[in-house]
Amino acid sequence: MENLSNYLVISSILFSLGLFGVVTRRNGVAVLMGVELILNAANLNFLAFARFGGMNMSGHVYALFVIVLAAAEAAVALAIIINIFNNFNTINIDDVSEMKQ
Amino acid sequence: MGLLENKFQDNVVVASLDKILGWARSTSPWYFQFGLACCAIEMMASAASRHDLERIGMMPRSSPRQADVMIVAGTVTLKMALRVKKLYEQMADPKYVISMGSCATSGGPYWQHGYHVLKGVDLVVPVDVYVPGCPPRPEALIEGLLKLQETIQTERPLTRKLA
């Protein structure tokens, strides 16, 4: 735990898992969950670098902004999902793109 | 149980535990807020300030899952009988039934020509105490409940379970 690379490994695994989710999932909400994982992984990196970079608080502020961003993104994304659901009665992304055609 | 069989028959620990459990059960019989007809009004009256069922530890619960005693207060019609049975089944064990009033006990005034009245709630659920009256006065209901508490107290749930 006193080692930067541990955190980096964890965060990269999380990142990959998130990416995996984003790529493979077709449900809008599930994709969003993947995105959240990715953002969390990024935050973990920020904080890890902050800590092992001499307790630089800027990292924390960045992380805070990322969280804010994540919140805004989640809100808008879910609103979009709802909107899509409204229009197409599905949130399956593939279905939606099919319907567009 | 195999090995343990009959080891608990007159075990002191079990016996005293049983007593405690019996005490707890009889002391807090929460009743199922379930009124059917005129008797329900008297049930309400007994829960109200004048008679205050909470004195003897009874609390109304409106979900059958959390109730111990079902007070069948009023006329059970055939249409309702199946629901009464279902609600009774949905109560968690241990559960007790009090049949309050003539109607619940035997169909009461509606026995004779009541084509649509169930003649006694004991046809669908097992009844522990019958409280007569039409409607039973709150005192009568309380007396019935006390009688029920007495019977609960003599129960030995653990001994029975282990035996």
Binding site: A72, A75 | K86, Q90, D93
Partner: protein, 142 residues
């Protein structure tokens, strides 16, 4: 910090154990006679019609949406409140702007009546719950 949060971390497990123990006792002592009727969903004595797992109305959702935004705002307020005494007017003005912008947001959603939980569409009497949708059919159409 480790110690404090460590304690809390351990508390989670203690909590689980403390709840699990009585449940275990319950399992041992309590009667257990399941039957299909008992395990049926409770619905006031009726057969439940359909599952409860249906789509839910959006109203709950819009509230959660707005909540999220304000939640984040509250998060910003905490560090600000801590340094408020230190920085004085500067912090006040900054947060004033921040809050004002969000108040504008609140006013906006208020005006757009996104805060209204429900849009009533009732047959009779509108009074203070006037519905946005003009109410044309006053009769029962079965």
């Amino acid at each position: 910090m480790y110690r404090d949060f460590g304690t809390i971390f351990v508390f989670i497990f203690i909590g689980i154990v403390l709840i699990y123990l009585p449940l275990l006792i319950q399992k041992l002592l309590a009667p257990n006679n399941p039957n299909p009727d008992k395990q049926a969903t409770y619905e006031c004595g009726e057969e439940s019609e359909g599952s409860a797992w249906v789509q839910f109305n959006i109203r709950f959702y819009v509230v959660a949406l707005i909540f999220l935004i304000f939640d984040v705002e509250v998060v910003f307020l905490f560090p600000w409140a801590i340094v408020f005494n230190e920085l004085g007017l500067l912090a006040f003005v900054e947060m004033g702007i921040f809050l004002l912008i969000l108040l504008v947001g609140l006013a906006y959603v208020w005006k757009r009546s996104d805060l209204d939980w429900v849009k009533y569409n009732v047959r009779y009497g509108r009074g203070r719950y006037s519905s946005l949708i003009p109410n044309t059919n006053n009769s029962k159409d079965k």
